[in-house]
Symmetry: C5
Amino acid sequence: MTPRVREILGWYGADNAGTLTNLARLLNHGRLAGTGKLVILPVDQGFEHGPARSFAPNPPAYNPHYHFELAIEAGCSAYAAPLGFLEAGARDFAGDIPLILKANDSDMLREVGDPNQALTASVQDALRLGCCAIGFTIYPGSAHQLEMFGQLRAYAEEARRNGLAVVVWSYPRGSGLSKEGESAIDVVGYAVQIAAQLGAHIIKVKLPTAHIEQAAARKVYEERGIPIATPVERVRHIVECAFAGRRIVIFSGGAAVLDDGTLLDEVRAIHAGGGFGSIIGRNSFQRPKGEAIRMLGAAMEIYASTIVRPSAGKALR
Amino acid sequence: MTPRVREILGWYGADNAGTLTNLARLLNHGRLAGTGKLVILPVDQGFEHGPARSFAPNPPAYNPHYHFELAIEAGCSAYAAPLGFLEAGARDFAGDIPLILKANDSDMLREVGDPNQALTASVQDALRLGCCAIGFTIYPGSAHQLEMFGQLRAYAEEARRNGLAVVVWSYPRGSGLSKEGESAIDVVGYAVQIAAQLGAHIIKVKLPTAHIEQAAARKVYEERGIPIATPVERVRHIVECAFAGRRIVIFSGGAAVLDDGTLLDEVRAIHAGGGFGSIIGRNSFQRPKGEAIRMLGAAMEIYASTIVRPSAGKALR
Amino acid sequence: MTPRVREILGWYGADNAGTLTNLARLLNHGRLAGTGKLVILPVDQGFEHGPARSFAPNPPAYNPHYHFELAIEAGCSAYAAPLGFLEAGARDFAGDIPLILKANDSDMLREVGDPNQALTASVQDALRLGCCAIGFTIYPGSAHQLEMFGQLRAYAEEARRNGLAVVVWSYPRGSGLSKEGESAIDVVGYAVQIAAQLGAHIIKVKLPTAHIEQAAARKVYEERGIPIATPVERVRHIVECAFAGRRIVIFSGGAAVLDDGTLLDEVRAIHAGGGFGSIIGRNSFQRPKGEAIRMLGAAMEIYASTIVRPSAGKALR
Amino acid sequence: MTPRVREILGWYGADNAGTLTNLARLLNHGRLAGTGKLVILPVDQGFEHGPARSFAPNPPAYNPHYHFELAIEAGCSAYAAPLGFLEAGARDFAGDIPLILKANDSDMLREVGDPNQALTASVQDALRLGCCAIGFTIYPGSAHQLEMFGQLRAYAEEARRNGLAVVVWSYPRGSGLSKEGESAIDVVGYAVQIAAQLGAHIIKVKLPTAHIEQAAARKVYEERGIPIATPVERVRHIVECAFAGRRIVIFSGGAAVLDDGTLLDEVRAIHAGGGFGSIIGRNSFQRPKGEAIRMLGAAMEIYASTIVRPSAGKALR
Amino acid sequence: MTPRVREILGWYGADNAGTLTNLARLLNHGRLAGTGKLVILPVDQGFEHGPARSFAPNPPAYNPHYHFELAIEAGCSAYAAPLGFLEAGARDFAGDIPLILKANDSDMLREVGDPNQALTASVQDALRLGCCAIGFTIYPGSAHQLEMFGQLRAYAEEARRNGLAVVVWSYPRGSGLSKEGESAIDVVGYAVQIAAQLGAHIIKVKLPTAHIEQAAARKVYEERGIPIATPVERVRHIVECAFAGRRIVIFSGGAAVLDDGTLLDEVRAIHAGGGFGSIIGRNSFQRPKGEAIRMLGAAMEIYASTIVRPSAGKALR
């Protein structure tokens, strides 16, 4: 157990030993074991975007075993997927990599202004499949947000009672937000805060832009001169919004497949800004496995490098 | 236990021995026992379309015993029906044929743009009636889809905990889809993926057309040159969408009663494309029993023939 | 136990001994005991239409004891009523007549195009009151139909687990049906099928007219030449729709109070068409008791007479 | 135990000894003990109308102890109030007066055409506070009526299983009724019947007017010549609607504060018509305590006087 | 135990010893221990308004430990916050200060005319985190008010069964109220009454204005000459609305950050009017800690001063 991992576990004083053990498993697995950084492979796009759009660019990815293999070979910290994908390999790869069961999902066969998610797996499913954590998506800003918050609350309570960790995908969406607002710095910061207040151990958001969506927030950002001009500053602000860095925040890239230079620049910004890592889906499994492993390796190299860490909000006790 | 059945059971590593036993019962019954192929008789049309439209073309079919008898005499793999029909014969034909209890149904007394289903039976009903599996319909694309996904999740969890298999009828429907889109290749592929991610052991879809419904999907199909021109190619693609062939996908014909030549051509395409079989309702029970047995026999003959099987996504372990 | 009752019980092979015992109690009570026919007194009109409209024509009927007495003295097979009416006499008349607890009801203080029912009693209530069965109303065709089907499913499962029988009032209603369509032959046949598929032991419908509501059904009725011109033919068709006569179907008259000649003609048609009996409410309790007993006696006389019974769908085992 | 109380208890043959005991407590307490008549003090106006409108006319009434004291000193049969008011005095006045816990309530901060109520207390609350009964309001005629009926069903079942009595406030309301219709004789009679069918032991309604709201009802009232011209006749009719007098019906006055002459005239009409008593809220606690006690005493005097009682529907056994 | 605290506990006679113990903990902690007054630090603004708007004015406040420290060092009676903030420090500061777990919350990413809250924590969470009470927000006047009342009912029942106290934030809101009406004297008085009737031990409202919102209320305020011209009179009236002072009512300031003079004037008015204290969030944590401690100290000084207490509604027993 490295001092850094021990420090991070110390932020979760209200959790039982079971949940801390599973958090430790995530932090102590793969290439980044012990560094306090995470690179997670998530593959829920088959559900979220459809199989052809997700897997035709790299056909071996239709096979659920492929993703277990990719995550293991690349040295990822964990592999996250919906129920079906995990059931299709949990016994075959038992013990090889920490698993995160996505417990809710939505699809694109019906697109609506105020999205919602279906409950697609249970905490009990996560336990029987040997997972370390559940994953849960919320859409702050959607007309259905209060329902999703309540569902997350119930799932999170059951998960932590059973010694699992809780990873929240916090994606602002809904008819009350502009398209640009979904990745606005104020909105993403708000989404991180909500997830943290709902009890998330790990929070996943998109890298925010410098746009400010809400007038009441703009006033504060300007008056206080909060620095948000560069990606590093924005990451730093988002981490601050996660209980002054006392909750693990990881980032995904934009919606489109990026060239590796841009992607690794984002990783550098996340690292420099005190972010805890990346969750890289389409940019990894939609290319040949060898390329993906090289790219993920490059990202992990960056996260493994030493930098002066912006200190997390200090523990007073 | 044939090697093929053993191979198929190997894809369901997360299931308990009870569920594997019931999957084996389905795969080891009737004319196609041991081949890895299935021909199932489904009779939910009394509920779905009304009794006169369903049974007047062949009046003995009003009698629930008729369908047990037909499925048994024809050597089908299983018989699937709603609660009432199974209750009316489960004791009389106990042990004669694997049963699948349809756990939700809808009717045509009220047609709506975004259809939904009523829960009409429970997992406990399936257990007390000696069934091997529950059947559950979802309408991906309907405004009620998330509710149905959540209901399926709960039913599937209870079913597999009790050692039953889960068969999902995945029918795209709803105001967001064109009529043509309900059987579009991209939409049916998506529907298969959703059912598989929700934990289905066996997935039933309609034979898709070459139409592509969603613009974002069309782009991928064209760029990647996914072959979908012939029925065989389309079946192959659908099977690929079911975890690279590691989930059992079976097909129904179109909505209308077909001439046998067309129907058997479809069966040949399903077989050649790596599909796992057919579910044949109206084309079997809406004709005299002798004719139906001959037709079903012909279909099974095709499925029993040896062809070079497109290999399912390989097991990495 | 007469052979006919034994035959009828044989249709319910999936039920436990408790439910069969209660079905037998209904079939072996009163003037028609052992004949396989039923005449039931239902008194839910106080709830459904209001007390003055229901009971002012025969003021002793305001008293809940009156209906117990009427059913007993007339030799009815059973008495069906909502919770309050049964609670008001269940101890006083304990053991005197089989009781059916109506478990849902609606009223006419608020009329809507798509009616629904309130749950007004539980299966547990039926058990503590010594009932043989629960009664449950569904409105196939209403916008609320799926909800009612699901409620019936849950009630029926609990009822049969506890050894009670399930009587379903299946009344097509709703904004998608014309007024004439509510009693159309195709619609009533469909309503019977739905109730049977939902697990009803006994199904109550209105005597249908020769009207055909749905275009898709009309095509079949005409092509197949299904005889529906006379009341006897229509009853025969409805019985066929109830699993080829393997479910008990009973009939109510029209909405208005009939003259006795018309009413007894209907009874003769039901009897001749293979129907299992009548449920006669307003035509019995809205007249002086003596008259009611004479009329009910005349109806029972008809049902007790021997006719060549159209054979129910034969048991294959 | 007086013969009259014994007779009344005899109407509730389906109830367990616990519930009969609590009904007896209500009938055997205070000035009217043993007479079969009840005068109940209800104080839910703080919730229903707000504190200033309710208590400013007599400021000591802001104090929850005041109402316990008033009910006790006046010799009322029981005191009914929401959770907070009962919690504020149940220990202090334990055993001094039968308590009825109002289990649902609504307020006037948001007025709507189709009112509903919030569940504000549980049966378990009533048990831990030492209550004899729960009180429950329904609004027959509201768009939310079926939901309220279902809630009452569940509460009533739990209450009687635990030996409590059930008092139903049955107030016709909703967009389908005219304002005048809310107190129409046919509508109030209907409301009483619904409450009785739902299993109420005691039913509270408003004194009806001679107005007839529903056309179908008007026809019956006119054809049968039901006498409803005088208050006495209307009370008699309402009592008839309550299972021919075999359920306890009590009455409240109109909405406004009445002069005592009018109020006592109403009491005389209720008594003469065979009503079982009054529930007097604003007319008692919105005046000085001494005056209130005198007025309540005068009302009880009337109820205690001997009159020839219109016989309740006779018990047949 | 001071006589005053003993007196206050005496108002809660229906509660078990566990709940009284936790109420005593709140009343016996910090600078105001034993005085019967409370100053509570609430920090739910991160959820309610977003992190930047809440914490950027005083960046150390991003850190959840900061607020524990502030509440402890200032000598507050308790610290109230959502799940995430309490989880982040409950072990570190175990036993240092009474905690109140906000069990529901809402955000400003989606603003609606009729607000609602999401359930964000459970009673079980409060128990495992060592809290003395749960906090629950209701919006009387919102279209969702009945749902929130029902949720509060269930939470409060579970909380008091487990020996916790219940603190209700009662904020009138909704499309039926004018903006001015949200803090109108009649509306705030009504909101206090509702919370008290729902079983709250402690009620938090905003300081009301002299505006009267509802016409029916205005009539009473004018006729009875209820004094509401000054803040002291309005506080006195609000306390009267809380069961004549037999429930603890505390107040928050207005929406904006106040200058200290105004804030302390409000505190003086609350104290003089018989209010039980203040809940001070943004005015304390949005300034440097030293300033906040001085300001909170000044407020506590005022509450600790002796004044002639308007006697609470006298206990009759």
